[in-house]
Amino acid sequence: MRVAVCVKHVPDTAARRIDQATKRLDRAGEGALNSFDANAIEEALRIKDAQGEGEIVVVSLGPQRALDSLRKALAMGADRALLVSDEAAAGSDLVATSHVLAAALERENADLVLFGQQASDGDGAVLWAAVADRLRRPLISQVAELTVSATTVRGKRQTEFGYDVIEASLPAVVAVSDAINEPRYPSLKGIMGAKKKQQDVVSLADLGVEPSHAGEAGSRTTVIALSEPPPRGDSIKVEDDGNAAEKLVEFLAENKLV
């Protein structure tokens, strides 16, 4: 069974800011693998272990730097990486991103496409549904427990009303929740071995995607302006040096909360 895992290289949490000139998220700095995607990679590894065979390919759309995140996935145990990197794809919104990603996934023709729960930079949690529609495959999202057989996939997921169990035939698209597993840390052997694994970088042209379908040209949404949110009031942050609990109780007492 071939499992494709879609991952995103996201800016470091501490450095996250929006570039006022381009109104895009500033992607300078090293960045890291979106932590929610580690759950999807872990789940793919478990599926492969359980089935005793298969191939895991990690797929990303992003700048060259995104290879760092793909290498982390390879170090965890994925077999192969595919990065779609093209200047013309920068600034892609949901419609454009799903178009490019679907083209890459069509090429991979995986039995199962996995996504993490959300991107930690965009707070978006919708890409999988757009990709599933473009691939014309069944979708199960927010999956907290996944069972995969040779022909079907069954997911237990939480909604506003409790737990659903949904089953679909393969090939399918599944988005997992961060409750599904504890992702492993890459071992030293894994990190060393990752360097030798296949890492392909392709352009839009390689995938046969017209530039008009990607980047700002292919996007249907736009950022008009940025502003400061209404202030929430002064916020206090203390490092615990052994006295944080005392300081907190004083704060609560001052505000008549204790």
Binding site: I18, V95, V126, L139, T221, T222, L226
Partner: protein, 320 residues
């Protein structure tokens, strides 16, 4: 301007979030319609009239019985292609997010999500979206129609304006792949358990607690403060604590006077359920956790050290 609002329903009732978005659409003006998709939902559709829908389209089909997104994309895409709406609005939910994103791909239409307000500026629809852990508000727009929008949970309150809607039945046909996923079990959470919605003080635990056994730390603090215990989705899904205590998008929305978050990162899923709290205190060992960007008092430290000490201090204060 024509606006269509996706009306989600559960056990024969339209959801409050959908009615809130419908009320907002009516307030923005133009022709406002709602759409209800399901099986045997004619009765449900009529509930939308008083909240500002002039027309409610009903797509009634056995394939729409289970709350699954893909057949809904088929139904909505046909309706939208047929009638041509300028705006299609959704109240964010597990179902609505998947429906809206699938629809965006199907229609090559722009989707903006997590919106906390909608307004008309120079005749154009503009959405407000908080970004980077709500440290910046982004005004977002659309370059084509239909404009698709997902509105953050709990943003708009339903407002009854007293009208009634004409109901119009719409036929549906489905793509093969859309009806491949099947609902095997549609479980419902138990309704009993402590009510966290009415508590003045809530102490909540997240994955940073490290394990279910450490929930006693949270329980002890809640007891000392005379408050209730809540949990995040991650720990509920992991089986550490019951679903009835879950705060967040797929759990309860709470607004106590004091909310103490222990080992909670502050993911958006949790935040939308507790951001209306009076005073928010966060204890987390990760200084980069998003929760520090919207709490009033943050302690960067180990919950296992800070929480027991806090409990002790609160106890001695109340006792003395």
């Amino acid at each position: 301007m024509t606006t269509l609002v996706f009306l989600e329903h559960h056990e024969g009732e339209l959801l409050k979030g959908s009615l809130g978005v419908l009320s907002k659409a009516a307030q923005l003006g133009g022709d406002v319609a709602g759409v209800v998709l399901g099986a045997g939902v004619g009765e449900v559709a009529s509930q939308a009239g008083p909240y500002g829908a002039q027309t409610v389209y009903v797509v009634d089909h056995e394939s729409l019985k289970a709350p699954l997104p893909q057949p809904r994309v088929d139904g909505l895409a046909a309706l939208i292609r047929d009638r041509g709406f300028d705006n299609v609005l959704f109240a964010q939910s597990v179902l609505a997010a998947d429906v809206a994103a699938g629809l965006a791909a199907r229609l090559d239409a722009g989707l903006n999500w997590d919106l906390v307000d909608l307004e008309i500026a120079d005749g154009e629809l503009v959405g407000k979206r908080p970004a980077i852990a709500d440290s910046v508000v982004v005004d977002v727009g659309w370059t084509t129609t239909p404009r698709l929008a997902l509105v953050r949970t709990g943003t708009f309150e339903p407002v009854e304006s007293g009208g009634s809607a004409s109901i119009e039945q719409v036929d549906a046909s489905f793509e093969d792949f859309s009806t491949t996923a099947k609902m095997i079990e549609q479980a419902h959470a138990e309704a009993e358990g402590v009510s966290i919605e009415d508590a003045d003080v809530i102490v909540a635990g997240g994955r940073g607690l490290g394990g279910p056994e450490n929930f006693t730390l949270v329980e002890e603090l809640a007891k000392a403060l005379g408050g209730a215990v809540a949990a995040t989705r991650a720990v509920v899904d992991a089986g550490w604590y019951p679903y009835s205590t879950q705060v967040g998008q797929t759990g309860k929305t709470v607004s106590p006077k004091l909310y103490i978050a222990c080992g909670i990162s502050g993911a958006i899923q949790h935040k939308v359920g507790m951001q209306g709290s009076g005073t928010i205190v966060a204890i987390n060992k990760d200084p980069n956790a998003p929760i520090f960007e919207f709490c009033d008092f943050g302690v960067v430290g180990d919950v296992h050290a800070v929480v027991p000490k806090l409990t002790e201090l609160v106890r001695s204060r109340k006792g003395g």
